[in-house]
Amino acid sequence: MRGQARQGDGVGGRRLKRAVYALIVVLLAGASLATPRVGSADLVAALSSHLVAVTTGFSGSNVLLFGTTDGEGDVVVVVRGPEDVATVHRKGRYMGIWLNEADMAFAAVPGFWTIASSRPLAEISPGVAAFHQLGLEHLRLTPLESTSLRRITEFRQALIRNRQREGLYSTEPGQIVFLGNRLFRTDLWIPANAPIGTYTVAVFLVRDGDVVSAETTPLIVGKVGFEARVFEFAHRWAPLYGIIAVLLAAMAGWAANLAFRKD
């Protein structure tokens, strides 16, 4: 089990083929050794990379999730982005103009949320799905004010709808593919507008409508290189950043004036 995890890390951001290949090798080696410890290792999962690097050319990225089960049951994966307060505003018409008139703030809203499963989620018992938040309808969103349930539902649905439109919450579950009856894999898509921060990837093993095993791994979406430096500079040295922004623009204007001068 530990051997597999280390192998998964080592693969890094390389091609999927290599990751799967490496996994199969480890799996074959592990299968012969692990037979006596079946009970403790009924679910093992790893990511092809624990870092999604947001660089200048970043336009979204796939992360491969792979793992094994001890043979029975289905797998469900939930990816949650970094949590923050999110305020939902409702517009209303005032003198012909649409203004934000009402709002509701929710605590600890994941900035990203997606789910994938090897079998339709409907087959999981509702109580279990609700407990483990398997499905957007079960996503726990706590308003920062106490108000009527109808009002909460209204804003809650608006929040989910907005996030889905931005592509940050999945509209339908992704597919987890079983290769044989033990080895599974799925691609997790991290879009270009995904928030920066630490994500959690939770893998559940579902057997007879119940979750029998779960594993969580972190996934970091972080700016690296130029992007990270610009962002950090803009926040830590804000006045200097502003001055540089102005100087760059002024120099561009001056250069243009020199280059296109007629006399």
């Binding site: 336009s59 103009i97 950043y241 502003g242």
Partner: protein, 304 residues
């Protein structure tokens, strides 16, 4: 080709932004305007958060303004004393504007106020310009500048100063007040304010039009520079990568526009500009009035 913007935190197409800058530059070269009033709405239109659009728009304005200012400076078309008075008001105004901007940002009404400000100012200026230029075409080459408005009240203001280059003897409070208003608008709307300042200086102050553009550019450079720095400090919404892409496009576009401009007559050009201004105002007014697709929207508060 996509590029990830570090402050806006989104990926945009490089050529789209360059093209947008080019279009704005072309129009600014053609009409002799900064084009800031086009940049911010266009950026919002392609999905840049309004706060980033306005703050970045302000930094982008510096480039074409410096370029055009230098050309006017060489021709001696700058009234430095008048410019300094405008600037004094402008810096004060932009400080107020940035504070108002941050306040509206917290209230979640920034979007509406930015759009509303555009509709009101572009609408009024566009209509005035259209009326004036159509009259000018009808009368064929009548000097509009000479029609001095009633200045009895304005003449009574204290602190009179002689502005030699502008051939004016007026209260210094007037240009300071104009600068203040323009500075506030610059901060809130992400514009240089030339489209407000130029008509005001001609019609209200009675400045000769030869000195107006160079002098207003002098003020615009420093006000947009100070707005950029203040926005960088208070809201951290200035995206340097976005600004540079816009500048790159607009610098080239401006040269094309300048050349195209020499083939058009002044009054014809003003009609076109008036129509353009009204079109932008109309589009934004529609966005305010039309029922949004989704009445609900999310405002995130992501502290990093």
């Amino acid at each position: 080709m996509d590029i990830y913007l570090p402050i806006a935190e989104m990926a945009v197409n490089v050529f789209l932004i360059l093209g947008l800058g080019g279009l704005v530059g072309f129009l600014s070269g053609l009409f002799g305007i900064g084009g800031g009033f086009l940049v911010t709405p266009l950026l919002i239109f392609i999905g840049i958060p309004p706060a980033v659009a306005a703050a970045t728009g302000a930094s982008q304005i510096v480039a074409p303004s410096v370029s055009a200012f230098l050309a006017h400076w060489r021709r001696g078309n700058v009234d430095l004393r008048m410019g300094s008075a405008l600037l004094a008001g402008g810096v004060l105004g932009s400080a107020i504007g940035v504070a108002v901007f941050a306040f509206l940002h917290r209230l979640a009404q920034l979007d509406v106020v930015i759009k509303l400000a555009y509709v009101v100012f572009l609408g009024v200026i566009g209509l005035l310009m259209l009326k004036e230029s159509l009259q000018a075409i009808r009368r064929a080459r009548t000097r509009v500048v000479k029609s001095k408005p009633r200045r009895t009240l304005l003449d009574a203001l204290p602190l009179k100063v002689r502005f030699r280059r502008s051939r004016l003897y007026i209260s210094v409070l007037l240009p300071v007040a104009i600068g203040l208003l323009v500075g506030m608008l610059a901060a809130i709307m992400g514009v240089g304010g030339g489209f407000i300042m130029v008509p005001t200086m001609i019609y209200l102050l009675g400045m000769p039009s030869s000195a107006v553009v160079g002098t207003s550019l002098f003020q615009i450079i420093f006000v947009s520079a100070s707005v950029t720095i203040m926005q960088a400090v208070t809201t951290q919404t200035v995206d340097v990568v976005l600004a540079l892409l816009l500048v790159g496009g607009s610098v080239l576009g401006a040269q094309v526009g300048l050349r195209a401009g020499t083939r058009l007559r002044g009054d014809q050009m003003r009609v076109l500009l008036a129509i353009l201004v009204l079109a932008v105002a109309g589009n934004l007014a529609w966005q305010l009035i039309a029922e949004p697709n989704d009445l609900y929207s999310i405002v995130e508060r992501r502290e990093s």
